[in-house]
Amino acid sequence: MTNLWPELKPMARRRFMSLSLQGAVALAVSPAMVKNLLAGEDRSRLEISPGLLQKTIATALKRGGNLAEVYVENRVSRSIILEEGQFKSAVFGLIRGAGVRVIDGDKTGYAYSDELTEEKLQRAAEVASFIASSGKKTQAVSIKEQRRPSYVTVKIPLEEVAETKRMEIMKRAEEAALSYDSRIKMASIDYYDETRDRIIANSEGLLLKSSLPLIFFIVQTLATGNNTSHLGRERLSRHAGLEMFDQDTPEKAAKEAARESIAMLEAKEAPAGKMDVVIQNGWGGVLVHEAVGHPLEADNIAKQTGAFVGKLGQKVAADIFTMVDDGSLTGFRGTTDFDDEGTQMKRNVLIERGVVVRFMTDILSARQLKMERTGNGRRENFRYYPVPRMTNTFIEQGKDKPEDIIASTKSGLYVQSLSGGSVDPTTGMFNFTCREAYLIENGRKTAAVKGATLIGSCLDIITRIDAIGNDLAFGPGICGKGQSAEVTAGQPTVRIRGINVGGTRARG
C-alpha cells in the first residue's frame, strides 16, 4: 500500500532485490575490531572527517529545521548461486554513499549522493534544506564520537573467508537436499553475505560508527511426484561471521526444505471457510508481525490513520497475549546495536497482557507523538530516509503445551509454515499464504492441504487468540514497506479461534 506507482522502475538496487536480501543491522564491535574490519582487503576504508560531517549538518540547517543528519554507508557483498548442480554465478558488490536529512516540524527533506566528496555532500545538504520553512532555527551541537554496547559478535570474519569455503557450505546443503528423497528433483542454494559500515552524525551532537556482517542462506527444493510439484524453502540468517553454520548447519536447512517439499506432494485441496487455526512456533510469528506489528508502527499513529489510533492503554487482546519488539537479541537478523538514526536498541513491550502499551517510533514520529525513541528508525540503504520498522518481533512465551493445544482443537487447520503476507495498516486487513498446512480432525493433525490463505483484520484477530504455547522460536525474513528491512518473527505455538481460510473446496 505504500508503493503508489509500482510501474515506475525504481532506482537500481543491489542484486537479489527479488529476494530482498538487504542488509541492515549493526555489529557493534570493539573499536579495534571496527578498524580491523574496515581495513579488510575489499573495503576501501569508510572514512569521512568529523569536520566535513559538521559542515554538512550546518549547511542542511541553514534554512531552519529541528534536526539535520548525515548517514554514510559502505556495503561490500557477495552472492553465489548453486542450482541444478552448478555454481551458476558469483557476484561481488561495492556500494557506498551518503544521505542528508532535515526534519522541520512534520516535514522531511532528503537527498543522497554516491560520492562522498565535500562538493556532493554540500549539494545534498542544500537540496535537503529546502524543506525547511518554519523559520525555526536550531543550533547544531558539536559532534562527538560515542561508543555503544554491541549485540553482535563475530568469530570468523567474512573478509577472512575464501570463496571456496562459502561454496563448500552450499555444496553440503545441496547434497543433503538431493539425498533426502529421490523425488527431490532440484535444489537451489542462494548464499549472500555482506558487511555494512555505517557512520551516523546529527545536529544533536551524535557521531556513531559501526560495521556489521550479515549472512543470508536460502535452500529451495523442488519435489515432483503424485502429478504435482512443490517448492520447499528454508532460510538461515544471522548477523554473524561464518561460524553461523556451526549451529545452523546447511544440512539441517536442506533437510527441512526437502521434508516440506515431499510432505506437500501428498497435499489435498484446502478447505474454505471460517475455522480454528493452530500456527506452529517460529516464523509463523510473521502473522502477528503483519497483522499487529505494522499497525503498531508509530508513523500510522502520528498520521492518525492507523488501526491502533486511540488504542494506547486499551485492552485489545486476552491476558495471555504479550507482544514484544526487541532489536537487541544477540546476532538475530533483526538486531542492531543502534538503529539507522543512532538510537540505542532495546526490548520494547508493545502489547502487555492484552493492553497496548507502546508504539514503535523513529525520531520523527517520536517527536510528533511526544513519545520515547524506541530504536525502530531503519532504512534499506543510504538512498532511503528512515521510517519506523520492526526488528525482532514476537509473541511472548505462554504456558500451554503445544500438543495440548492441538489435542483441544476439535477441527481446524494446523499451519506449519507461512510464506508471507501483507497488511493495510489503515484498515488492519491482512492476508497470508500457507506454505505447509494440515487438517486438524478430532484433536489430531491429519492430511496435508495446499493452497490455503488466511485473512482477517488485526483488531479482530488478536481477540481470538486463546492458547499460547511454551515453545517460543524464531525465523528470519524480509519485510517490505516501500523499502526492505531484515527482520525476525517469532512466536510459540498459537491458536486462533475462527479465522477465515481460503481453500479450493467447500468444507466437507
Binding site: 503508489l4 537500481a12 576501501s44 471460517k274 481460503g502
Partner: protein, 444 residues
Amino acid sequence: MDYKDLAEQVIKDCLKKGAEQAEVYLEDNRQLSLEVRNGQVESIQEAQSYGLGIRVIAGKRLGFAFVNDFKPESLKKSIDRAVEFARAVSPDENNQLPADPALTEIKAIYDPELSAISIDRKISLIQEVEKLALNIPGVTKSAGASYGESESQIIIANSFNWVKSYKSTGCGYGLGVIAEKGQQKSAGYESASRRFFADLKPATDLAGVAARKAVEMLDPKPLKTQRAAIILDPDVAYAILGGFIQAINGQSVLQGASFLGKKAGQKIGSELITIIDDGTREKGLASAPFDGEGVPTQNRIIVENGVLKGFLYNTYAGRRAGVKSTGNASRGGFADLPGIGPHNFYLAAGQVRPEDIIQNTSRGVLVKEVTGYGINPVNGNFSGGASGFFIENGKIAFPVKGITIAGTADEIFNGIDLIGNDLDLNRSLTAPTIRIKSLQIGGE
C-alpha cells in the same frame, strides 16, 4: 570521463585481465519524490545516482561485480573480483553475450520537459488531488498524496564491439483516502503513471476513483462460503497475470518449475484468451529499444485464442532451450544479473462492456481487490484474500470484505467465459474485466 568511454575502458580492462567476453551495464538515474498530507508538504526527496555492473565470461564461466564508485581503484577492484569469481564457478556452455548490434525503434519514452517542470507545480498537483478527494462526501481523512518521477539513461556495451544507450522518463502520482463510519474504516487508493508529464490523468479523475473506492466499501455484509462466478476488475489483473508471467519464464520452464512447462503449442484455456508481450509500444511504460542485455525488443503473442505460443527467454536460457533470445532479459538495475521478465504485458480486450458482464451474472463476486501471491507458478493453483461486491441477478447487491477465492489453473483459464472491452494500455501489466465461470469462495 564520458560514460560510453568509461564502459569501453572497463571492457578492455576485463579482457586484459583474462575475460573472453565482457559487458558493462551502466545506469544513471535522477529521482524526485514528493509527499503531501492535509495540504502540507511532508517530504521532498531528490537525488542523482549511478552505478555499473560488470559481467564477464571466462572459460564459459560467469562472474559479475557491481560498483557505484567510479574511482579507478574501485573499478579495478570490481573488475578483478568479477574475473576471479568467474574462475570459481562452474563452466556452462550457454554462457554467452549477445552479438546483435541492432536496436528496435521506440517512440516517445523520454520526456525532455520533465525535469524543467517546477517542483511547485508537481506539489500543487498532489495538493489539488488530495483536496478534491477530501471534498467528496463520505471521505473523512487523507492517507496522503504523492508524486514520483525518474529520468534515466541506460548504457550497455559488450566485447562484440557495440555500445547501445537510451534515455527514458517516468512520472506518476497517486493518493490514499479514508472513509469512516462509526467504527468502520475503509481505505481507497488510486494512482497513474506515464512517460510524459502532460499525459498524466487529471486530478479530478484520480480523486474521484480513490474516494469512490473508499466509500463504496462501507457497510459490507458477510458472505456464505460458496461456489460462484468471479468477475475480476482490471485493477486486479496482476492476480492472474503475475503468476502466469513466472510460469512462462523460460528459465523456470527449463527447471521444471512451471505448470505451463509442457504446454507449448497446446490449448491452456478458453479461446477468448489472447496474451501479448509488447516491448515496442509507443509511450509504453515498459517499452525500450533493447532488453537488459542489449537484445532488441519485440512485440510477441504469448497466447493466441487459448493456445500457448511460446515462453520468454534471455540469451542464456534461450541457448539452453535451443532458441533465440526473445528480448526478455530483465534487469532490476546495475547491481543485478540479467533475469527474465515481460515488457508491456496484457490480456487482449474482448467485446463485452464491463456493465454487461455484471448484468449477465446471476450470482457472483465482482472482485476489486486481491491480496496474496496470485497464481502459484509451479502448480497453477490460485488462492487469495479478496474484497468487492456481491452480484445477484445481474445487479450489484452489497460490498463484501474479508472473503477468499481459490481455484486451480484449469478452473481459472478454462473458466474464463467473458472478456471486457475496457483494456487500459497505459499500464504495463494489464487486463480488461474478465469473468471466470465458477470458483470457490470462502466466507462465513
